[in-house]
Amino acid sequence: MTATVMEPFTTLTSRCVVLPASNVDTDQIIPARFLKTVSRRGLGEHLFADWRLDQDGRPRADFPLNSPAAKGASILVAGDNFGCGSSREHAPWALLDFGFRAVISTRFADIFRNNSVKTGLLPVALTQSPHATLLDLLARSPSEQIEIDLEAQTVTLPDGSSHQFPLDPFARHCLLNGVDELGFLLEQGSAIADYESSHPARVSTR
């Protein structure tokens, strides 16, 4: 029952958009008023709605995602602790729908990271020093490309330096193959049944 649920992620070479703020919360990534949908599509138009658009819905010229260099960029580079706050998977859905395939930060909030790897968005956590180097390089040459190699778990910066990033081996497998965890879990049916027979239910909601 393994189904391809997302575009496989192997390597990505792209320009970046830099959003230098730290602690970017999911209420900024996708404000709650856009969560009344029953679909996971079409959320890109509301990505960072309150930062990206003015009150008349026009792009704010000073917001990084609206800069000319951002066009076609599929890597977002942000400050520390990206994706904190609510569990809404709408946040990675919106980033993907807008055209991002990877986010680079120094740390990701747990639920955001979990949601991202399940939907095909790669969270790349660099240590402080290469992260600072990357920000520095992009400040000088905003249209430089960087390369992410998921198989090797490396990011290669415009200066040629290459840096490892951590990722759970299982998440990496899913991203490389475009499969989610459900196929694997459904195959555990007999182990789950064994657990259930030795651990009677604590409650019944019936």
Partner: protein, 472 residues
């Protein structure tokens, strides 16, 4: 198992369908899955696409809370005027019907905020694993249950398999010793903890709250503490069960009865951190000198004692922190070094999964009794569930609020997340008993000061941020 284990490790070990290896995370069994309208529709769609069924509808419970109106019922029914919200609510009803899941819908007397009704109905019990597509699932940890928020993909996995793939989190003790002064509450403890640990400081950890100040709290106050664990980035928060826990659960609709009750009590007695067990980290806080806390900024870690001063970004530890503080003060329209006391507010919100239970409403009512909401201030009191609402009405609390000039509303998440029409207008300021003060969280352009129900009520009657300890 002869080695000493923490409470978290005991619950974790007890729910392993298979342990983690280098290549695979652990398969963790879920005892109770709570579902609501906002984070579930896409998960049910995925089940249909894959031809999967719900493995254990008998361990699943759904309710409606996030996008539901809280305007008073007309002719006993709740009118959902927002067509998108109505469609989402209808979708949940259809999904629950199709997959055989019990739903506490809008016309059910047990409807309410998912993290209020779980404990209220006795569904939340010590030693369980509980998940929900909502980050404040950590609330249920107050009962010694390992409870955490998941995304919509994971909601689908749990529906289909009753399990999740998980790496074992680290474990951190938050020890709070001492005795709270008058006017200081559980909300003030947790705001102080988050300020100490930092907005992302507990990432990757399950917290266990220990110490005399925690033990002295009632169950509803413990829920307030565990509820906001996620605001420090924690995966979950736990408090070991004790007599208060058992006393709270006994006799509730889903609580064990007869011999099962005594078997449960025996099981629950083992749910403590063994002597000699080790946490990965520990932080300590003294409750004795704690003041009422209030946030000044745009994340919950930006909090100060109510009689303190707003920090100066110039004193920040790093460039990033300075930028953050600068940005927050600009958004909140505050000056470095200023006091928050006397700052005028437009709205006071008492509600949310953090502070909407009967004891929270009683606290707010003690301040409101015989006083009036200040002119120009809108005060909303939103009970966490229909049961809380009925209980409050039986005690006459609704009259206290209404006579003071506050709005007494129907149950739901309301202005905590501002999805249902209850929201701040751009530029408005609110003191709120909820859990998040992110930019625009309570309405685009709105400014939120998080505080306890006592501080919120004192502010409502003053018309400006006020210290309940010095209220005239």
């Amino acid at each position: 198992m002869s080695t000493a284990r923490t409470l978290f490790e005991k619950i974790w070990d007890d729910h392993l369908v298979s342990p983690e290896t280098e290549s695979n995370p652990a398969v963790l069994y879920v005892d109770v899955h709570l579902v609501h309208e906002v984070t579930s529709p896409q998960a049910f769609t995925e089940l249909r696409n894959r031809g999967a069924r719900v493995r254990r509808p008998d361990l699943t419970l759904a309710t409606m809370d996030h996008s539901t109106p809280t305007t008073p019922r007309s002719g006993g029914r709740l009118q959902v005027l927002d067509t998108q919200a109505a469609a989402q609510l209808q979708q949940l009803e259809m999904n629950c019907n199709e997959f055989g899941i019990r739903l506490f819908g809008l016309e059910d007397s047990r409807q309410g905020i998912v993290h209020v009704i779980g404990p209220e109905q006795g569904l939340t019990q010590p030693g369980m694993t509980i998940v929900c597509g909502d980050s404040h699932t950590s609330t249920h940890g107050a009962f010694g249950a390992l409870a955490f928020g998941i995304g919509t993909s994971e909601v689908g996995y749990v529906l289909a398999t009753q399990t999740l793939l998980q790496r074992k989190p680290r474990n951190m003790e938050v020890r709070v010793e001492g005795v709270l002064a008058s006017g200081v509450t559980a909300k003030d403890i947790i705001l102080a903890v988050i300020a100490e640990v930092g907005i992302g400081g507990a990432t990757g950890h399950v917290l266990e709250y220990t110490g005399s100040a925690i033990r002295s709290l009632g169950m509803e106050q413990r829920m307030t503490i565990c509820n906001m664990s996620i605001e420090a980035g924690a995966r979950a928060g736990l408090i070991a069960p004790d007599e208060k826990t058992a006393e709270y659960i006994e006799g509730r609709p889903f609580a064990p009865t007869g011999d099962d009750w005594y078997a449960a009590l025996a099981r629950w007695r083992n749910l403590v951190t063994d002597e000699g067990a080790r946490y990965d980290r520990s932080v300590h806080l003294n409750a004795d000198d704690l003041a009422p806390m209030i946030t000044f900024g745009t994340n919950p870690s930006m909090a100060i004692p109510i009689d303190g001063n707003v920090p100066d970004p110039a004193d920040a530890n790093s460039g990033a922190e300075r930028t953050d503080l600068d940005k927050a003060l600009r958004y909140m329209s505050l000056e470095p070094g200023q006091s928050l006391l006397g700052r005028a507010v437009d709205v006071v919100f008492v509600g949310s999964c953090t502070n909407s239970r009967i004891s929270d409403l009683r606290q707010a009512a003690t301040v409101m009794r015989g006083r009036r909401v200040a002119p120009g201030v809108r005060m909303l009191v939103v009970p966490g569930s229909r049961s809380v609402k009925s209980q409050a009405e039986a005690e006459g609390l609704d009259r206290v609020f209404k006579e003071a000039g506050a709005e007494w509303r129907e149950a739901g998440c309301s202005m905590c997340i501002a999805m249902n029409g209850d929201q701040l207008e751009p530029g408005q300021s609110a003191v709120s008993t909820s859990n998040r003060n992110f930019e625009g969280r309570q309405g685009k352009g709105g400014r939120t000061f998080l505080a306890s129900p006592l501080t919120a009520a004192a502010t409502a009657v003053t018309g400006a941020i006020a210290d309940v300890r010095t209220l005239s």
